[in-house]
Amino acid sequence: MAEMQSSGRNSHRVRVSTWWRSLLADYGMAFVLAGMIATLSALTWQRQPPGLEGAAEQLLAVAQRTDQPIWLVGSTSEEDQRLIDRLHGALPAGRVTKTVQGGPPDFRRAAQEHPSGAPTPLLLCSSQAGGWSIVSELAQRLPGWEGVRVAVPKEVSGSSFLKRENLINVANQITVIAMVAIGMTLVILTGGIDLSVGSLIALSAVVACQGIAKFSGGVDATWQAVVGWSGLAILLCALHGWLNGLWVTYLSVPPFIATLATMLIASGHAFMLSKGQSIDQLPASFRVLGQGRWIGVPVAVWLMIGFYIAFHWILGRTTFGRALYAVGGNAEAARMSGIGVRRVVLIAYTLCGAMAGLGGVLLSSQLQSGAATYGAMYELLVIAAVVVGGASLSGGRGKILGTLIGALVIAVIQNGMNLLGVDPFLQKVVLGYVILGAVLLDRWRSR
């Protein structure tokens, strides 16, 4: 009886401790990421101009208190343009008597032309225009403007890291690496490695751009041609991945060697196809993937999120996912349990090639050009993302969401260091130590 009780208690303890362990094991890096985000937010906390909404709100509040005519003053920047459009939309028609967009001389000219008898307008300025001395000292500088009221949005406190634009920036920066890292995770789960993804990114970018520019009319290419060439580029990369898989499975070439060879071959082809030049005669429709937005978030980020959800399910809930982990965990045991080991490995490499192809199309769409130099060193960043995400290079262990976290960690570190003005060479050093730290963390928790 006593034994029964103790065994019951023990099994309970097993459950609790494995729950903790697996949480730590699977998503320990998530806590690190959260800590990094908190630290960066604190470090970049400073007084800064309010965002579009904040500025518009402040200025409209001033405008409502009087019934003076209104002048809108701003620079030609996109941000000011949007603020002026926003104010135009919100104020009743006829209220705005003049809109001045440009530099200080433009404003001086407009102010001088203002007839002295007319009522003094209220000036609603953007933060930037508010800084011009001709605006802030208007009453002293120009006759006839005594008693003018100038409204400038007040500065607010906030973290420049947490600004919406910056976060989207981080997401944008990481999409290519994160997408390619999905394929790399599959390959690493089988216990392999794929060094060719960087070159495949270049090959895909060159093939897609060259095809559109040369054979489909360049800037005037139809969207069908854009989709067609992009698809072809991705297929070509999938074929390279499939060849990698063939070498690794049927010809038993070590993955490191086989994909190293493919890396050279693909890179060479990319340079030959592009003749070493950057291709940029591309239509606007090619921009949609990399620069388009949907509900304020870049299309590329949506695509990334979609792929991560899909592969999270594929790895966790399909027989292919189970087979993939089994092959990486112990290929012999998997084979003896009736898993088609070669087939699984072949699929993993093919998908990795295809994801690299997609990454190449995405990158060239973001940069609106294609060149054979794209993707250089990406294979290492991608592998770093997977490793930081907790996957074991010996195979059989790793989570797809871990890889996403790994990619985000790398992006956040890079972005954070840029915001803090860290020397780019020092950034490399820091990144290196982060990778070592992640691996140490992995060792420590798998004890």
Binding site: E3, S6, N10, S11, R13, V14, R15, S17, T18, R21, S22, R317, T318, T319, F320, G321, R322, A323, Y325, A326, G329, N330, E332, A333, A334, R335, M336, S337, G338, I339, G340, G396, R397
Partner: protein
């Protein structure tokens, strides 16, 4: 005793090793038996030393406890080991033997209790500390570098002044120890070429060169042939006569009765019984290990023998399998006896499609079949429980349920998507039936003891409901208690009309469980035993080695 040892030892080359050791531990000069013999001890025989309790034990373990998350592996275990004594440490898998061995090897640290050498408490912080303290552990897996020569392996890790290797001195010392122990292995041979038994000898010699006083052997005969096991036991007797204290861990009762002076039985991390070997008998010993009364060691029940399911004719591949013809009936357990290397595993691999046959044919229900891989064999209802559980049967880092589902993925999924509730239900069902513990589906398989691992592997194949199940050494490294459970399940399978091909090196087990036995030798079937109950294990052994005795000898 001390004198005799000294006498047997040539001074000179060895002295180098000794002097160095003296500096570090400051104990006696004699070679193996460095017990500073007390007057009483001098009188006693160096061999069986049952009356030595008055002396300080060579190794003493007191009240040692160790727990892992969720498991109390050892609970206040105490143990004494005297010079010139062999103590058999017995227990079912998961009883705590491995943990105790790991503690003694310095691979892990106890939560409480103490370990004493010659009455002095010692701390075994790491494996090197254990060796320095005079404890040598021979694990089941050997730690020899296959590319290096025997000599290099023997002295691997030895501290040398300025790191300079004196090969002449080393070779001399090695020769000496080999001679003393009656080992005939070339010092220049690379360790990768040695047989398992020879590698084991090298491991032992390596420990002795470090002047250990306590030798711990973990299942030393698990991978040896009967002949090699016999030699090992002789060898251990020599070591005992030299005054070494030996802790012998084994499941094999025959060996224990043959070699041990005392037996200590562990169960659930506690010492449950202890006593001189003469006080023990087979059945009570098993019951002490298992913790429940034992009806029969081999719970054989015959099933109705049905039609021929699997038949092979003139099957062959290279020299490992030649001209093998056999028939396997529904509900039949067909034993395959033979020595290691007789081609039994290779035959199984052909029948499961792991290797391609070169000659002959395989028929299932009278229809010739061609097997291009395990998937083909599995589709036809053939299952295979491989010999090496940890390397072939399981993915030991993965969860129990993942392992369980691996051969059953197609039945737990629709269109490639897993049906996790069905999977979990099947897992729970088989777990309840076979009773592996712990049952927690997500813990890695490596946390299970050998017996529980084997139940899991058996469970994953039973879930497939195979027509033919090939078992390759299904009870190797499985403790007596779990073994009987495995036997019961195999009988139950046979009764549900499954045909079973059972490869085993445990001839007692084959005789006890088979309906029929074929004996393989050098890739061929050399004899068939229609009524196993009428023969003895030694008959079977002689059939296995007897075909051309002159070649297998030596």
């Amino acid at each position: 005793m001390r004198n005799r040892n000294k006498g047997g030892l040539a001074p000179g080359p060895i002295a180098f090793v000794q002097r160095k050791d003296m500096e570090t531990t400051g104990v006696s000069m004699s070679f193996f038996c460095r017990n500073i013999a007390s007057p009483q001890q001098k009188k006693s025989d160096c061999g069986r030393t049952k009356g030595l309790r008055l002396n300080t034990p060579c190794l003493q373990v007191t009240q040692v406890s160790k727990s892992f998350p969720g498991v109390q592996a050892l609970a206040e275990v105490s143990l004494e080991l005297h010079a010139g004594e062999v103590v058999a440490l017995m227990g079912a898998n998961g009883a705590g033997k491995s943990t105790l061995i790991r503690l003694l090897a310095g691979a892990t640290q106890a939560d409480g209790g103490a370990i004493w050498i010659d009455g002095k408490p010692i701390r075994l912080a790491d494996p090197a500390a254990a060796l320095r303290a005079g404890i040598g552990v021979i694990h089941q897996e050997f730690f020899l570098v296959p590319q290096l020569s025997v000599l290099d392996n023997l002295f691997l890790g030895h501290q040398r002044p300025l790191g300079i290797i004196s090969r002449r001195q080393e070779a001399h010392a090695a020769q000496e120890i080999f001679q003393k122990l009656g080992i005939s292995i070339e010092l220049d041979a690379s360790c990768g070429q040695l047989s398992v038994a020879e590698q084991q000898m090298v491991e032992v010699a390596k420990c002795l060169l470090r002047q250990v006083r306590v030798l711990v052997l973990d299942e030393p005969t698990a991978a040896l042939t009967p002949r090699e096991s016999h030699r090992l036991l002789d060898f251990l007797s020599t070591l005992r006569a030299e005054g070494l204290a030996i802790l012998y861990v084994s499941h094999r009762l025959e060996e224990v009765f043959q070699i041990a002076d005392r037996i200590v039985v562990l169960r659930d991390g506690r010492t449950v019984a202890e006593g001189p070997v003469s006080h023990w008998q087979r059945k009570p010993l098993i019951e002490a290990m298992v913790g429940r009364p034992l009806e029969s060691e081999y719970p054989k029940e015959s099933a109705d023998r049905g039609e021929v399911v699997l038949q092979c004719r003139q099957l062959g591949r290279g020299s490992s399998v030649q001209n093998v013809s056999l028939e396997l009936h529904e509900g039949e357990i067909l034993g395959v006896a033979g020595l290691v290397g007789a081609g039994r595993t290779e035959l199984a691999r052909l029948l499961f499609g792991l290797d391609r046959r070169e000659t002959g044919s395989i028929e299932l229900d009278g229809q010739p079949i061609s097997l291009r891989g395990p998937q083909d064999a599995m589709r036809l209802g053939i299952g295979f429980l491989p010999e090496d559980r940890k390397k072939q049967g399981l993915i030991i880092d993965h969860g129990l349920i993942e392992n369980f589902s691996l051969p059953n993925l197609s039945s737990f999924s629709r269109g490639g998507w897993m049906r996790r509730s069905e999977e979990r239900q099947a897992y729970d069902q088989q777990q309840t039936a076979l009773g592996w513990k712990p049952s927690t589906p997500r813990i890695p398989a490596k946390l299970l003891s050998g017996g529980n691992q084997q139940k899991l592997v058996l469970g994953k194949w039973i879930q497939r409901d195979p027509r033919v199940l090939i078992l390759d050494e299904p009870t190797r490294g499985v403790d007596v208690g779990a073994r009987v459970d495995v036997y019961r399940w195999i009988v139950r399978l046979a009764q549900s009309r499954c045909a079973i091909l059972w490869i085993s090196s445990d001839f007692e087990e084959l005789i006890g469980m088979s309906d029929r036995i074929v004996v393989m030798h050098r890739g061929r079937i050399v004899s068939e035993i229609l009524d196993p109950r009428k023969i003895s294990a030694s008959d079977l052994l002689s059939a296995a080695v007897g075909a051309d005795r002159d070649k297998t000898d030596g």
